[in-house]
């Protein structure tokens, strides 16, 4: 490609020099060019050593150079196409094989020009611009393979997008000439305008045996569910006209009809609606007397007034897309592009990509018979929904309608999803516009489950060398009824943990894990030793929590198993002066984080912290030896969209004697560092996932005037 750049830049400079005396020279040059073209055609079959030049010229080769194939009159015609075909009966799945990437491989036949015995081509247009775009897009995608033996899906380069330009019988014959045709098995045809006058079939009339059809305008009777793919009718305006996205909201007109070929019965009905509802409706039609040179496709008229099409579509909340002779209408694409909500009146029409797209979120489908009730039906739709539909419509266009590339790759992805259903794209991936993808949450732990109390929790104590304090913590925690196991993470590589006999004797198993490196992330590793869902992370100096407080914390966690449930709460604030986030540990009325110095959470989050933490946060935390708790709060809030739960009243957690040592200055640098963490994490997550709440959890009878001994958790806030 570098070659092409170089030569083309030299090109224009040569032109002005063209003078008569050089004419002979240029005649020679032209003949050289012709020779070159022939040569490049030949180079295709030459060994690779010359590819630098040959390849580039190949790109420029013309359609007219495609090899000619003459179809004998007697060549066979495929079967018409079997309506009962499904993936498991008509598709050879062995060709797709097992594939670690779960991606099908697609082969495109080289272009050939088919003519009948008299030399008349099988198609009046040959390769169309759109089909060329489509095939090029596929060949640039990672679906593509040029190795025919490895392909799972075959795409003929015979253009059948528009049936009108085809000679049906000869096209069918051409299909059977394809080297791998084999009754059309695993072949995919793209067609957008099926059928022909007078009855307009809703699927391509070309006999095609078992080939899959990606068709625009299927009806429920011709569409083979789970086999064919319903695709949009591409609108050329998509490429030609740029319509900026408009903010969703009310528009000047309520309903707009802009199609030109509406049956007179329907036009009469629309007129009647217009009479009843006046200005809210705009009924446009072809312009009868446009001056020469104006593209009639780009203008619409109402009573002599001329409107620009498709710009006018942006002025309406709803746009009518009525069936014509065909079910599929290119107008649908224009309407979506304009962010106008399509009102689709086409009975039995299989909407484009309906296998994966949820059209109820982007359109209104009304039976043709109810055309006269259209206004009432549309009026009943809530405003907020209309706005969401406008956004959704535009998103559908951008993602799936805007170019032949989008249409082609979506089709292949749908087929891909059928072959590897366990790796299929999800509903959310297909349907959520980026703005929703960004703000919505999809936690894998979405089921409202309150796990049983019995398995209890595993306490994980991270320690370095404070053995005395550690032993006090262990003794205290061991009194909690639901404690199932105690796991000490020994983070000191230079010193061995005390001998077994020296450890406090407790009623539950106690395990010591020695780590290889002194890293904070060791505290959040999903150790196999943790056999319960619930984990209590606790520091080796937290001795001020009572057994009741811990047991209550566990009970609260059971009611909120997908949240962090902890004791000391913290808050993030937006510092308007500095224009960044700030960490706050003062007595506030709000909470957005709980410290993991003492917190219950699901073991799943250990796994997430260790393997799924976005960006470099995990390493950053290990390097700075700080903020692992903030990182955990970010992670959980981001995946669940929920705030943590702070339990029990505020109090000092560390032993009173250990706090006074650190001076105020140390405290301040600490706060600055923590604030930095928040800003760093927010930028890595690309958003601020933390949620602020104003509540904390207490036992039902906390501080109630009620005999303490009858309370389940009397000893709350006492130390």
């Amino acid at each position: 490609m570098y070659a092409s750049g170089k030569y083309s830049s030299r090109g224009p400079a040569l032109i002005p020099r063209m003078k008569t005396k050089h004419r002979i020279y240029y005649i020679t040059l032209f003949s050289v060019v012709l020779l070159g073209l022939i040569a490049t055609g030949m180079f295709q079959f030459w060994p690779h050593s010359i590819e630098s030049a040959a390849d580039w010229t190949l790109d420029k080769r013309s359609v007219h150079d495609a090899p000619l194939v003459r179809l004998p009159v007697s060549s066979p015609i495929p079967e018409r196409g079997d309506l009962s075909c499904r993936m498991h009966t008509c598709f050879d799945v062995y060709r797709c094989g097992y594939n670690p990437k779960n991606r099908i491989k697609v082969y495109i036949y080289p272009l050939q020009k088919f003519v009948d015995e008299l030399g008349v081509p099988i198609s009046s247009t040959g390769l169309s611009r759109e089909y060329n775009d489509l095939l090029s897009a596929i060949s640039d995608s990672d679906f593509y393979t040029d190795d025919v033996t490895r392909a799972c899906l075959f795409i003929p380069s015979i253009d059948v997008l528009n049936q009108n330009s085809l000679r049906i019988r000869e096209t069918a014959q051409a299909l059977t000439m394809l080297p791998r045709w084999d009754k059309g098995m695993n072949h995919l045809l793209f067609n957008m305008l099926p059928g022909g006058p007078p009855d307009y079939n809703t699927a391509l009339d070309v006999p095609r045996d078992r080939a899959l059809l990606a068709g625009g305008g299927f009806s429920t009777w011709t569409y083979r569910q789970g086999y064919d793919v319903s695709i949009p009718v591409y609108s050329p305006l998509s490429a030609d006209v740029e319509l900026p996205e408009r903010q969703p909201g009310p528009r000047r007109y309520f309903i707009l009809s802009s199609q030109t070929a509406i049956h007179r019965e329907y036009r009469a009905e629309l007129e009647r609606l217009k009479e009843e509802n006046g200005e809210a409706l705009l009924l446009l039609d072809k312009c009868s007397n446009l001056s020469q040179g104006v593209a009639s496709a780009r203008k619409r008229c109402y009573k002599g007034q001329v409107y620009d099409y498709p710009q006018i579509l942006q002025e309406s909340s709803f746009c009518v897309v009525l069936r014509g002779a065909r079910l599929g209408q290119a107008a649908l694409s224009d309407v979506l592009q304009a962010g106008c909500v399509p009102v689709i009146l086409a009975d039995s029409y299989i909407l484009p990509f309906s296998e994966v797209l949820d059209w109820k979120r982007a359109s209104v489908v009304i039976p043709e018979e109810k055309l006269s009730e259209m206004y009432t039906i549309l009026k009943s739709i809530p405003h907020r929904q209309v706005e969401e539909m406008q956004r959704q419509a535009r998103w559908f266009w951008e993602a799936y309608f805007s170019s032949m590339k989008a249409i082609g790759l979506t089709t292949l992805q749908i087929i891909n999803d059928r072959i590897y259903p366990y790796a299929a794209r999800t509903y959310e991936q297909w349907n959520n516009p980026p703005v929703v993808k960004w703000s919505s949450v999809n936690s894998p732990l979405f089921l409202p489950l309150i796990p049983p109390r019995a398995p209890g929790f595993t306490a994980v104590v991270l320690t370095y060398d404070r053995v005395e304090s550690l032993f006090r913590v262990i003794t205290e925690i061991s009194k909690v009824p639901s404690l199932a196991k105690l796991l000490v993470v020994w983070n000191n590589q230079n010193k061995s943990p005390p001998e077994e006999s020296l450890w406090p004797k407790i009623g539950v198993p106690l395990k010591v894990v020695r780590t290889k490196e002194n890293k904070l992330s060791n505290r959040f590793f999903p150790y196999d030793e943790i056999e319960t869902e619930a984990v209590l992370a606790i520091d080796d100096d937290i001795i001020m929590l009572t057994s009741d407080e811990l047991q209550f914390g566990y009970e609260v966690w059971r009611e909120f198993p997908d949240r962090l449930v902890g004791y000391p709460g913290r808050l993030h604030l937006w510092d308007h002066e500095m224009g960044k986030w700030k960490y706050e540990s003062e007595w506030t009325n709000e909470v957005s984080m709980v410290l993991t110095g003492a917190a219950f959470y699901h073991k799943y989050f250990n796994y997430l912290y260790t393997y799924k933490m976005p960006g470099d946060i995990k390493n950053w935390v290990d390097a700075h030896m700080n903020c692992e708790d903030i990182a955990m709060n970010f992670l959980v809030a981001n995946i669940t969209g929920k705030a943590p739960i702070k339990v029990t009243p505020r109090k000092k957690f560390k032993c009173p004697e250990c706090t006074a040592i650190d001076g105020l200055s140390l405290d301040q640098t600490h706060m600055v560092e923590r604030s930095e963490c928040i800003n760093k994490f927010a930028s890595v997550f690309g958003t601020m996932p933390l949620k602020v709440v104003e509540h904390r959890a207490d036992p039902v009878l906390y501080k109630d005037d009620f005999p303490e001994k009858l309370k389940s958790f009397p000893n709350i806030g006492s130390l």
Binding site: G36, A53, V63, N164, G196, W221, K360, E694, H695, Y702
Partner: protein, 743 residues
């Protein structure tokens, strides 16, 4: 290559470009990205001439600008005629709603279902009985065929296996003699089994005409999309209502269970259905992939037994089916005699992710359920790849598949009633088209049966999808005060209450539901407030009218109040901020509890101070407006009438309803205190709380409700939510909700 030749090539190429330039034929893609493509190719085994590349010459568009010319409006036949023609042509196997269903029957009265009266002497299986009674108990039922849009036979069509004892003979004649049959139009026929040994065809043995089929084990070939409904195969012991919860109680991490993939079932030596099962032993490894078959079936299996039988049978007896089911990550569901099997529902309930090996089976409720989110759909042809496929599934995916099995099981499958209602709702969605559920409503909590699109088609109007859509509920509430006693003095509790509530910064509007026998008081007698106070005369003065989904509620949240409730503005504010975090639950003050009374063997109700609660009474509670709609339309008339006649228990019923939707307890905020002035001595006249029967009635209600729901939906909670600094040792000035601490 010689330099000369290369030069020539390059030169000609360049010249060629110039030429094309001169003719203006193409735009040279100067900006096209580097040479990487070519390099890729040489690595990937490039075959000369095989690669497809873009043609850059000017090509014609596939359709001329005005392609609709041919489409010219008035040439083709009238659309009306076309529609009529369809209904004549597309019948039988090609039936669709458009051609075989009469929508006009549904237009007058909405979607109503009629069940033919049962005829004496006609034998009927228990399952079919359950189906019919589920319909008769639903809100869609009508006893009047003139109002009906859908008809259900009282002839048992569930088992059409001629060899079965349940088989009903002469069905053809019996069906034809029904005077409402009308060729089967707008009828639905339920079927679980069809065909018989050895080929088990899907023929029902009688002409169903234009009727829809709700059939188990239906194949994609016979399934008429958007017309038939594929239902799951369920056993005769399947509960009619209520239904068991899913088995999942824990989310173990890592999510793998003892076995990776299991199956235990028959291998048929004669007749169809065993091709895949015969090959299972290839994949069996007796460690984590345990696929067991037995040859023992029927009386004379010994006669047909093959070489593997003895070995297989021995291995088969070593394992227990239930043990395997509950301890496996994936469960194989291969076809049997028919495409579907009981195993499917069993695996679903056991949170064992089903691995389908039944090519051509139209999965149950495939029209609305996205099975890729709850099952692995395998291909029988690729049996040998199944172990590596399931092993490649990521841990996160396993967790979410597992959760989805549980959601789907409880939402659509765990009782006959759910299966039948889901079938009917699917058809209703087709009939009402523009007010139908979106995919998200069907496939996420709490499921389509609790999400009624007639309320709204906008997802954001429901309390369930805020997180999914990334939106928040409206930040104001509407207070609804239920008034039963006349206005006599300005110091009446209700007057104070109105002022206090209207003062809340979150209050958008106050609605007074006037359920008092006295006529409405004059406007000026109500207190002056900054927000509008609307007085609505209660419909027939029944207590349920406090839960009507009034159009005048402009907000998502409703604060429901009794006339004698005592609350402060701070308490109202705090409760509302809490509700915003839990929009699908009831958040409020007066907590109550239920318990199982062992002596009397029934549910009990208590208002005592306890360490846990399961209800928050609607005398002072915030919840989503949608629950008003559900209360009014989803609950049966029998329960609502009972509540209205007693003027009691409406709050309990609301708690039952919300908990059965959310599967979670309500949320109590802050400390217990007396909420009723009446209890503090100055009893207001005719308070229902003073009635001695009141408490006994509430016990009865609990049990009546539990029996209708088929289960006890209430869930206990041991915690309440207080303001963060509640009763903390800090200056009261630092606290946002100071008044709450004053009792």
């Amino acid at each position: 290559m010689q330099a000369k030749k290369r030069y020539l090539t390059l030169f000609s190429a360049g010249a060629c470009l110039i030429l094309l330039f001169c003719f203006g034929g193409i735009q040279v893609p100067l900006s096209r990205k580097g040479p990487s493509r070519r390099d890729d190719r040489s690595l990937a085994g490039y075959h000369p001439g095989a690669r497809w590349r873009r043609f850059s010459a000017s090509l014609q568009p596939f359709s001329p600008w005005e392609h609709d010319q041919s489409d010219s409006p008035n040439e083709h036949i009238s659309p009306r005629q076309k529609r009529d023609a369809n209904s004549g042509v597309y019948t039988g196997k090609r039936c669709r709603m458009e051609s075989c269903f009469d929508f006009s029957l549904c237009q007058r009265n909405g979607f109503k279902v009629y069940v033919y009266p049962q005829q004496k002497g006609e034998k009927m299986s228990e399952s079919y009985q359950n189906i019919l009674s589920s319909i008769e108990g639903s809100m869609l039922y009508t006893p009047d065929p003139g109002q009906a849009c859908l008809f259900v036979l009282s002839l048992d069509t569930l088992d059409r296996d001629q060899l079965s004892p349940q088989y009903v003979h002469n069905l053809k004649a019996k069906v034809q003699s029904l005077h409402l049959w009308n060729g089967g139009k707008n009828h639905i026929i339920f079927n679980l089994y069809s065909g018989t040994w050895p080929d088990y065809t899907e023929d029902l043995g009688f002409d169903i005409g234009l009727a829809m089929l709700a059939k188990a084990s239906i194949s994609t070939e016979n399934f008429r999309p958007n017309f038939d409904v594929s239902i799951p195969l369920f056993s005769k012991d399947h509960p009619r209502t209520g239904g068991e919860r899913g088995y999942l109680k824990h989310n173990t991490i890592p999510p793998y269970r003892k076995y990776m993939l299991v199956f235990k079932g028959k291998r048929y030596l004669t007749g169809i259905g065993s091709d895949t099962r015969n090959a299972l032993y290839h994949v069996h490894n007796s460690e984590d992939v345990v696929l067991l078959t037995t040859c023992k079936h029927g009386k004379d299996w010994q006669k047909h037994k093959d070489a593997r039988c003895d070995k297989d049978n021995a291995e088969y007896d070593k394992y227990d089916y239930r043990e395997m089911l509950y301890n496996s990550t994936f469960c194989l569901v291969p076809r049997g005699r028919r495409l579907g099997s009981f195993r499917f529902l069993e695996a679903l309930q056991a949170a064992c992710v089903p691995v389908m090996l039944s090519n051509g089976w139209e999965l149950p409720f495939s029209e609305i359920i996205d099975w890729n989110t709850a099952a692995v759909i395998g291909d029988e042809r690729l049996l040998l790849q199944i172990p590596s496929t399931v092993r490649s599934i990521h841990q996160d995916k396993i967790l979410s598949l597992r959760h989805q099995t549980q959601f789907l099981w409880e939402a659509y499958f765990n009782s006959v009633e759910k299966i039948v209602l889901t079938t009917l709702e699917i058809i209703q969605d087709r009939v009402l088209q523009h007010t139908s559920r979106s995919n998200l409503m069907w496939n996420s909590l709490p499921g389509g049966l609790f999400t009624l699109p007639q309320y709204s088609t906008y997802l954001g109007d429901f309390p369930f999808y805020y997180a999914k859509l990334g939106v928040k509920p409206y930040t104001k509430f509407t207070a609804i005060v239920h008034v039963v006693s006349p206005l006599v003095s300005q110091s009446q509790p209700v007057m104070k209450l109105l002022v206090v509530v209207a003062k809340s910064q979150y209050c958008a509007q106050v609605i007074v539901v006037w359920n008092c026998d006295k006529p409405l008081p004059a406007k000026h007698r109500w207190p002056v407030t900054s927000v509008p106070v609307i007085v609505i005369e209660g419909e027939s003065k029944v207590i349920s009218s406090r839960f009507l989904p009034y159009d005048t509620i402009p907000t998502d949240a409703v604060l429901s109040l009794d006339e004698d409730t005592v609350l402060s503005t701070t308490e109202v504010d705090f409760a509302f901020t809490v509700w915003q975090s839990f929009p699908d639950r009831i958040v409020g003050y007066p907590a109550r509890s239920h318990f199982w009374d062992i002596n009397k063997e029934r549910w009990g109700y208590t208002s005592k101070w306890t360490n846990e609660y399961s209800m928050v009474l609607t005398g002072a509670a915030i919840y989503h407006k949608y629950y008003h709609y559900l209360y009014t339309t989803y609950l049966p008339a029998s329960l609502k009438t009972m509540v209205d006649q007693m003027s009691n228990c409406e709050d309990i019923l609301m708690n039952f309803l919300v908990s059965s939707v959310s599967k979670l307890p309500p949320i109590k905020v802050t400390q217990k205190k007396q909420y009723k002035e009446t209890m503090m001595g100055q009893s207001s006249r005719a308070s229902r709380w003073a009635d001695p029967d009141h408490f006994a009635q509430r016990q009865t209600c609990m049990n009546k409700f539990a029996s209708w729901f088929g289960t006890m939906p209430l869930v206990h909670s041991q915690m309440r939510l207080d303001p963060v600094l509640f009763k903390d040792q800090v200056s009261i000035l630092r606290k946002k909700y100071r008044d709450i601490e004053r009792l």
